[in-house]
Symmetry: D2
Subunit: 337 residues, 4 copies
Amino acid sequence: MIRVGIVGATGYGGRELLRLLCAHPDVTVSAVASTSAAGKQLTDVLPGFQGLLDITFETFDAKSLAEKCDVVYLGVPGRESMELVAPLIQAGVRVIDLGADFRLKDTAAYQEYYGTTHTQQELLSKSVYGSAPDNRAELKTAQLVAGPGCFPLSVLIPLQPLIPLAKPDIPVVIDSVSGISGAGRTLNQIYHFPEMNENVRAYKIGVHQHTPEIEQELNNEVLVQFNPHVGPYTRGILSTITVRPTASIDFEKCYACYDNEPFVRVLGEDTIPDLNGVTGTNFIDFGWKQDARTGNLIIVSAIDNLVGGTAGMAIQCMNIMFGVDETSGLRLGGMTI
Amino acid sequence: MIRVGIVGATGYGGRELLRLLCAHPDVTVSAVASTSAAGKQLTDVLPGFQGLLDITFETFDAKSLAEKCDVVYLGVPGRESMELVAPLIQAGVRVIDLGADFRLKDTAAYQEYYGTTHTQQELLSKSVYGSAPDNRAELKTAQLVAGPGCFPLSVLIPLQPLIPLAKPDIPVVIDSVSGISGAGRTLNQIYHFPEMNENVRAYKIGVHQHTPEIEQELNNEVLVQFNPHVGPYTRGILSTITVRPTASIDFEKCYACYDNEPFVRVLGEDTIPDLNGVTGTNFIDFGWKQDARTGNLIIVSAIDNLVGGTAGMAIQCMNIMFGVDETSGLRLGGMTI
Amino acid sequence: MIRVGIVGATGYGGRELLRLLCAHPDVTVSAVASTSAAGKQLTDVLPGFQGLLDITFETFDAKSLAEKCDVVYLGVPGRESMELVAPLIQAGVRVIDLGADFRLKDTAAYQEYYGTTHTQQELLSKSVYGSAPDNRAELKTAQLVAGPGCFPLSVLIPLQPLIPLAKPDIPVVIDSVSGISGAGRTLNQIYHFPEMNENVRAYKIGVHQHTPEIEQELNNEVLVQFNPHVGPYTRGILSTITVRPTASIDFEKCYACYDNEPFVRVLGEDTIPDLNGVTGTNFIDFGWKQDARTGNLIIVSAIDNLVGGTAGMAIQCMNIMFGVDETSGLRLGGMTI
Amino acid sequence: MIRVGIVGATGYGGRELLRLLCAHPDVTVSAVASTSAAGKQLTDVLPGFQGLLDITFETFDAKSLAEKCDVVYLGVPGRESMELVAPLIQAGVRVIDLGADFRLKDTAAYQEYYGTTHTQQELLSKSVYGSAPDNRAELKTAQLVAGPGCFPLSVLIPLQPLIPLAKPDIPVVIDSVSGISGAGRTLNQIYHFPEMNENVRAYKIGVHQHTPEIEQELNNEVLVQFNPHVGPYTRGILSTITVRPTASIDFEKCYACYDNEPFVRVLGEDTIPDLNGVTGTNFIDFGWKQDARTGNLIIVSAIDNLVGGTAGMAIQCMNIMFGVDETSGLRLGGMTI
């Protein structure tokens, strides 16, 4: 059994992780740590775990966590991970960070998009970007994994194999719609039910922090015009990606890299996914349309932002890190299958 | 491994069952049968199962199913189960029927509420009503299990222990709201998205077929006024139950029967559940309020109609029938935990 | 033209009122007052009114409002109306209060349910409960109108004519489901989109402040068991009302009082309304079912909590008060007609 | 009073038109015609109109309609308008077609996108595209108005003034999300509530029939990559439009044409609209973002597909045709203002 600790389990990402770990056959949840909830029963804070997990929140203590756990997940607010990772790594426990602090290798970009200085450049250089299809080999021995953003995963998996064929001077246009869980639990007038219901919002156009993350993982070979939206539902991202190819594409060859990926479902040309197939699952589904009239290729991908886009992918990384079946705990079908 | 067959997997109940069975560690799905889909790949009909289950629909054949399976689930339309159960039982395989044909012991009530004659009275007398908390002992050896209705489960579990204390001459008032998945996949103008969205509907007041089922399982000791509704969401039933007690109630004693039930969460007085804790789970949550002013007791229960109200309960029954851990495949937390 | 002032237009009730008044052919909006927004353009605070209403918020000043307006609506938080009404009435302007301060004639009940002392008993005795069908004559000359609660209107209109026929010793059971706009604009974790979406909640069972209001307007001849709920949508209340009649009811005679009511649609026996017919309108629709088996009568009513349940009814009262066509500004059909 | 007739009032567009006309102070609904409903009361077919409109469906008869009406709206299925317009025009009544038959001037494009031959080329050449801001002068005397598509209106109004400044060789990328009412009332498994709820779908990418309509009204000066989607809500379109400008743009000058448009709200740079401001209204709101990093201009527009995108715009055209106040019957604020 993999002994798992979680620091910060009360946001949507951390809760989802804990929910999935409860059903994971190769995992024991050994510790949950939280500054605000230390000393409380998990079920006092998150009553939905009654009957699933009987554990008490402890104060964050790197040594204690390293003794009890083989791996520690961090689900803390942005910028806090920077402080917590170093002592954990030093204490000898492997770390998977659900947050954004260790995703961008370029600290200037981090400064620009997150508004704060990166204080852990050495650790940053050792972190592995936690996309299982892209970095499976490095994950096996990674000490620190940076869980990707949900929007980037929805874009990178269909796009990475095609980038050599995209025109470098014309930005790839990415219009994504996310469920509101992507905006987190913090209260905000715009996410008050009556103001988000029956509504769609575009936000942070051109300045969203996932922009440099996407470009980094595309080797900075293209610019991306990332237009994020939220829609009136809880889970799932649909990304519509418009690319101008330089030449005709052999999709079978391009996407052969995913033939044995357990959670990447390449639906093929003219088969466009929706969220029904992925909600509640670790799958990413994508298909595409070639528009001969305009010369564009349009790819549509679907992912559950909390599972395939966050907690499920983080568990898949853990499975790889510890050598258990990569699909363990993740053989879940869509809630509207 | 329990070898499982499913007849009729394309309705919402059957799909959900299949979805849960894919993640069940003690189960192999050995056969799926369907008249309309025979010969087709499961994933041609239900593409969401790509990467989860590689199997082909076969024609219904009782002997063949009995050879391949330890238990067969029926997820067929009402009235069809009557024809299929007899040959399956005769061929020696145990059967769990998700439908309504074997729930009502009173064939006159069946005739009245389902509009057709019951042709299998002998089998009916042997069927076990598939409520794990109520009939655990009988389930161990049951050959035929009648999976309960979703509304009845939401009502019976909180109400059964209290019935001796309810006034017999004043009907118990049950106002339930179900998600639209409870109405099934068949197209209907009233469930077309724009006509059900932002809407709530009452339907079949006083004539819903779950009324006699609830009364039967309350030993016909009280009348129930069952007022069913559907609301603008997919999954979950919230039942608000108004009872006039004859005397003060010792709830701790009454509900002690659930102390060791793995999926019954008795929240207690003044703790009212909502759907967040149960959606996607096999739990039933309930709490209550004593209204001294009116003399009423109001109980509120929450259940996922497709899991705790159908497929999850059916799996729990199977776990009992085959002696595996009763919670196997069912340790799932709420989608909004 | 009726010159109208509004104090407190930023809550959902006040906004809806302003929205409807913009389209009212016999109304000029002469003043909007707000402590927090004084000096700001209305459209700076509520940008949706661009192109509809060009006006600046002023500080509350009773004399000034009385000069500019024939009637002032109050859409302020609970308990604040008590302070504002007296100077307005004294300054000679008629007042329609959307809030709860002048609904309950019994100040002890007000104290119990609203948690504060009523300081304006004299004004209270003069206030008219603003239900047009019930109090049309009094409204014509009313100086102070107490706009009813949204839940009470959904219940009183179908129930008032029947009360002489209900058993007095058995409480009427009222299960209502409201859209989330009924809970107001104030942020609350339980109304954060991802936590209310796909959810139904019961709340304040037995202690909701609309309970004594309903009983008062039923002349305290029956007790009501009021079980309020919120569902995952924005507007509309569906109330399911279970009554035990003492004798058979001549519905045609009972409901003849509504034959000429412009906004009461009596659908009749076995015709059950839903919200589609009323959302965005001033109508209340209701129908009923007699359940011979249980001896109960079940009435279902539908209303838009913000229009027929608040702002629309308040405008209908104003139309009566000022002798214009009672339907003026209110001939609106359902958003899903 | 303008005497109005409607042929085909049972689809969502026709119902919405009728709903708005009931509240229009300068309109009398003189006739409703329908093949399937002839002889029935309107309220038997559309019970939501009880208390609003007392009229009986008649058989379509051009002469009779021309006698009773000053203008006839057509809300019939695609391809049927072609047959109905000629006799109406011949009988001397003006016609506003809500459908698509008279939008495309290029009959080859009509054939390609609608799959049928256009049989009324002469009428087609006389039809006026019913965009009030673009064709106000022609509308005054138009005999036949082709009501625009809802997606095109959301795109054309912000885009038309900018087209001279867009790169002609790089397609404008338009990602639009519409509420499900845009897909009509016809039942379809994908719009069954549980399959569209919590879902987003892309559809008809590159082949949607609104593509040639948009390009025609942009004078065929650019190609558009039109990627339409539907989201889990009833009303409203949010269009996100990515343009590559050839030069810096003087927006104030570009959009000065809308300074006096009553229903075009130019929100300005960095002010991005959402649907709350437009649902239920005839407004189109738009704002934009210049992305210096990518060199793109991103415009976001919001419209109610049934009002500003269909019925409201058709009424605005009628107001212009008959010389009444252009905003008459349309001074409606957003349902979530």
